[in-house]
């Protein structure tokens, strides 16, 4: 076989003389140049034993379990939440009845920002982009009739994560559940909030401390819970490329590990419960490469840099969600195709759980029909396509393996730059991530505006499409919420509530672990706003530098 360079100079050149290449950028969404063909020459120095191994063994490039989907399919976990706890509870039950295997809770913005539903800052936002949870009373309604020992629940909550987690666990305890059997995930990744989604309350340092409180408390008290889901999803949605998403997310994970070690925690006690959450976008192979590179980088960091001994500490387990930002409001049904292809990439990338977006999400929250169709998309992949029959079927592809190597290389390069800036917290305060992401999203927008990138139905193949029905949120939600909140404040044991809040303040001030105090607050029906106000007083609030 002739060398690739000769083939390119001869056969390929001849072919493109006869029929020139199309005038489009041959590069991935991250801007990695893509060659006409890949051969063994692109994998020089590649050692399958060192770089791939078998599935379920170091460095886990091929997946964290030996049998992967032959043993158990990924968890089909649809993110849901809107209106009142009653309405979301009803949606949860319908999703479970439709064959979903885990729950995932979306909270409304006041809850995410630590305000009760009746706070002035909550006006107009209660129940709009998630469910309102202001106290244990709401949590009890939200999970009514759902067994916390049987169904694992993921909660997308960050700055107030400790308080919301405590409410969930308190709810489970009151139902007589054994906390050692209650599983799920709290997102609890504050670093990506500073980097991308901006739902922070306190400054970075005390915010990270609250996260590390869960690292310390979780393994002893709720060992089946993932107390953090280190998230690239939001970084990507904010405009980052796949390579940036990979790099920044793993840098965040490493930052938490360092902070936990600084507190004197044993790596093999907390690391097995660190989980991840990645976006899965349109560039099919790049996305698959991203998942594979993520596992390899994490395994090497954990074993070789941090000295973790337990293989469970080396494994990067992840949730994935199709890219909301890739959905178009134009011709919304076309999104069904995008979501299916993205979901397939997540599965070929070896995800542990998956949310598929509904086709109407560029318009509003999903309707029940749209959410069911998105779930069915996963079921088609799982049961009809055959991709689950063998583990990591794309391993050994010259293209995919070179892309995996390239993603890893770019991530390590970013690690160095972040370290030079003094670490993740320093880089946040310096505006590094905001600039990187802002530039990437600007570049992408220019490409779409200038039609160098085609988005079907948006800048090409434009056509009127029939309107689709959308989900509306009943404005009476806020009244139901306010009424329940007033009742909670009126009927609870006031002395117990005040004592719990005082203890939370003391723990925060004295640098003790705050989780026991959050548990006491939850059981005493302290509201979320009350608890966050205590911490606002102790920690102060953060305001980011304004950059365009």
């Amino acid at each position: 076989m002739k060398p690739k360079s000769r083939w390119l100079a001869e056969e390929y050149a001849e072919a493109t003389r006869a029929l020139p290449e199309r005038d489009v950028p041959f590069e991935t969404l991250s801007g990695i140049p893509v060659e006409p063909v890949y051969t063994h020459e692109d994998l020089e120095g590649f050692d399958p034993e060192r770089d791939l191994g078998y599935p379920g063994s170091f460095p886990y490039t091929r997946g964290v379990r030996a049998s992967m989907y032959r043993g158990r399919l990924w968890t089909m976990r649809m993110f849901a939440g809107f209106g009142t706890a009653e309405q979301t509870n009803e949606r949860f039950k319908k999703l479970l009845a439709a064959g979903q295997t885990g729950l995932s809770t979306a909270f409304d913005l006041p809850t995410l920002m630590g305000y009760d539903s009746d706070h002035p800052m909550a006006l107009g936002e209660v129940g709009k982009c998630g469910v309102a949870v202001s106290s244990l009373a709401d949590m009890e309604v939200l999970f009514d009739g759902i067994d916390p020992e049987r169904v694992t629940t993921s909660m997308t909550i960050n700055s107030p994560a400790n308080a919301i987690w405590a409410m969930y666990l308190a709810m489970a305890e009151r139902r007589g559940a054994d906390l050692s059997k209650v599983g799920g995930t709290i997102q609890n990744d504050i670093l990506k909030e500073f980097i991308a989604q901006k739902e922070y309350i306190f400054p970075p340092e005390p915010s990270v401390r609250l996260v590390i409180d869960t690292f310390e408390w979780g393994p002893k008290h709720a060992p089946r819970f993932n107390f953090v889901s280190v998230s690239g999803y939001h970084i990507r949605e904010a405009g980052a490329t796949a390579a940036q998403e990979l790099a920044f997310t793993l840098a965040d994970g490493i930052h938490y590990v360092r902070k936990a070690l600084e507190r004197g925690l044993d790596i093999d006690e907390f690391a097995p419960r660190i989980s991840f959450f990645f976006n899965v976008h349109n560039d099919f192979f790049e996305e698959i490469a991203k998942f594979r590179a993520a596992r390899r980088i994490w395994a090497r960091q954990m074993r070789d840099v941090f000295g973790a001994k337990d293989p469970r500490s080396w494994m990067l387990r992840t949730h994935a969600q199709t890219a909301g930002v890739s959905l178009t409001a134009q011709q919304p049904l076309v999104n069904v195709a995008r979501v299916a292809i993205q979901a397939l990439a997540a599965v070929l990338g070896g995800t542990q759980s998956l949310h598929t977006d509904s086709f109407d999400e560029a318009l509003a929250l999903p309707t029940e029909e749209a959410a069911t169709l998105a779930l069915r998309t996963q079921q088609v992949i799982a049961h009809e396509t055959g991709v689950t029959n063998t583990v990591d079927p794309l391993a050994g592809s010259y293209y995919l393996e070179s892309l995996t190597n390239e993603m890893e290389r770019r991530a390590l390069e970013y690690f160095e730059r972040i370290d030079e800036l003094g670490g993740v917290e320093a880089a946040i305060e310096e505006g590094f991530f905001a600039r990187e992401i802002g530039d990437a999203s600007w570049k992408y927008q220019r490409e779409v505006d200038e039609k160098r990138r085609i988005v079907v139905g948006v800048n090409e193949y434009v056509q009127e499409f029939p309107e689709v029905p959308i989900q509306l949120v009943d404005p009476s939600v806020v009244e139901v919420q306010k009424e329940r909140l007033a009742r909670v404040r009126r009927e609870r044991d006031q002395a117990k509530a005040q004592a719990a809040l005082a203890e939370l303040e003391a723990a925060a001030k004295e640098g003790r672990n705050t989780m026991p105090a959050f548990m006491a607050c939850a059981h005493a029906y302290c509201t979320l706003g009350e608890q966050m106000d205590v911490l606002r007083k102790v920690f102060g609030v953060y305001q980011e530098p304004v950059l365009i």
Partner: protein, 136 residues
Amino acid sequence: MDRKIRVLIAKPGLDGHDRGAKVIARALRDAGMEVVYTGLRQTAEMIVSAAVQEDVDAVGLSVLSGAHMHYFRQVVEGLRQKGADDVLVFGGGIVPDQDLPELESLGVGRIFGPGTSTEEVVAYVREAVAQRAAQR
């Protein structure tokens, strides 16, 4: 004549999704306008007072959280109370079609949804601001 168009881009409320706001701010600036970006978590009062203080021709609100009706109404009314109802209020984000007639009746200009090209927004702001200036 020849005064640069001044635009305030604002993120009202609790929503932290600022990708669109920043891209639009950058596009308007590149098109030669003077752009002030408020940053996050602005109340309607803060936005109105920034608009008056900066003497802007247009205010662009970016809302993806579903709280758009509340904030557009408050900003439009606030501007009116300050005698600044000649300021163009337009917006972008996730706004369902059925809310558009009510926003229009409030006097809100165009609302740009996902997939809008930045050229379209730039052209609109230029034209709508010129139209308002001619009416004055």
